[in-house]
Amino acid sequence: MALPDRLSTTFSALADPTRRAILARLVSGEASVTELAAPFQMSLPAVSKHLKVLERAGLVARSREAQWRRCRLEGGPLKDAADWRDHYRRFWEQSLDRLEDYLDELQAKEKSDGHEDEH
């Protein structure tokens, strides 16, 4: 029932506009850090810092070749983030079904008792 803990990490990684822009760029294909930094008025180390956050969240992976560290998108955590609503929808719909039954029960009880039930 509980959501995977990494969902929190995913959402906090996504809570920054620069990181979202980096991810959006990676949707169209792999890129080097320099390429990723180009649209931003930002130093390479600053962009690297954002990439580290994305890597820790499992949203971005970097290839191993030291010379040519291409970054690419990892879809798994984002799928979980997109699934959060389905998870909660199921939880609430089933709870509300039970609430309906419980309210029916209460109403029936009040009718047969002929008074409001005690607090």
């Binding site: 996504l14 959006a24 309210l103 209460l106």
Partner: protein
């Protein structure tokens, strides 16, 4: 271009909205949401049993509830009440706990009750952001990122 429609589409991506008409007056529905012994009767999926229910119903007050699945697994949920307006509105943060009791990602749940001639229209709204302020700060942003990802995932299947 219909701006209203495009904004609604974005809202839907990061929010959950459920509406239901309940065959009971508002005050009865409100009590079913705010009194522990009543909450314990229904809050959780079919077959789940509430085994612990502690609710401090006041703005800033905490709740912590445990439900046991039919298989016997315990699931703890917790949060803080943000807004209580009898008998029309209840807002609280919501998070599942992990195995160590640490809360996971927080969401903000708002339950609104409207009188419909003796029946009650319940609207449940849940957003991924912890506070209304934080939610409004992120009006666009990663929502559209998620849309692009959905397309990306669809294309990489």
């Amino acid at each position: 271009m219909d701006m209203r429609t495009s904004i609604d589409v974005e809202e839907r991506e990061r929010e959950l909205v459920i509406t239901r008409i309940l065959d009971a007056p508002r005050d009865v529905v409100f009590r079913a949401w705010t009194e522990p012994d009543r909450v314990a009767r229904w809050w959780g999926p079919q077959g789940f049993v509430t085994t612990y229910c502690d609710m401090d119903i006041r703005p800033g007050g905490a709740f912590r509830v445990c439900m046991r699945s039919p298989e016997g697994a315990e699931h703890w949920k917790q949060g803080i009440y943000r807004e209580i307006v009898v008998p029309e509105r209840l807002a609280f943060t919501f998070a599942w706990e992990d195995a160590e009791g640490k809360p996971g990602h927080q969401t903000l749940v708002t339950v609104t009750l409207a009188d419909r001639g003796g029946r009650t229209e319940l609207t449940l709204h849940q957003a991924v952001f912890e506070t209304v302020a934080a939610r409004d700060d992120h009006r666009r942003g990663w929502t559209s990122t998620l849309q692009r990802f959905a397309e990306y995932l669809a294309g990489n299947r």
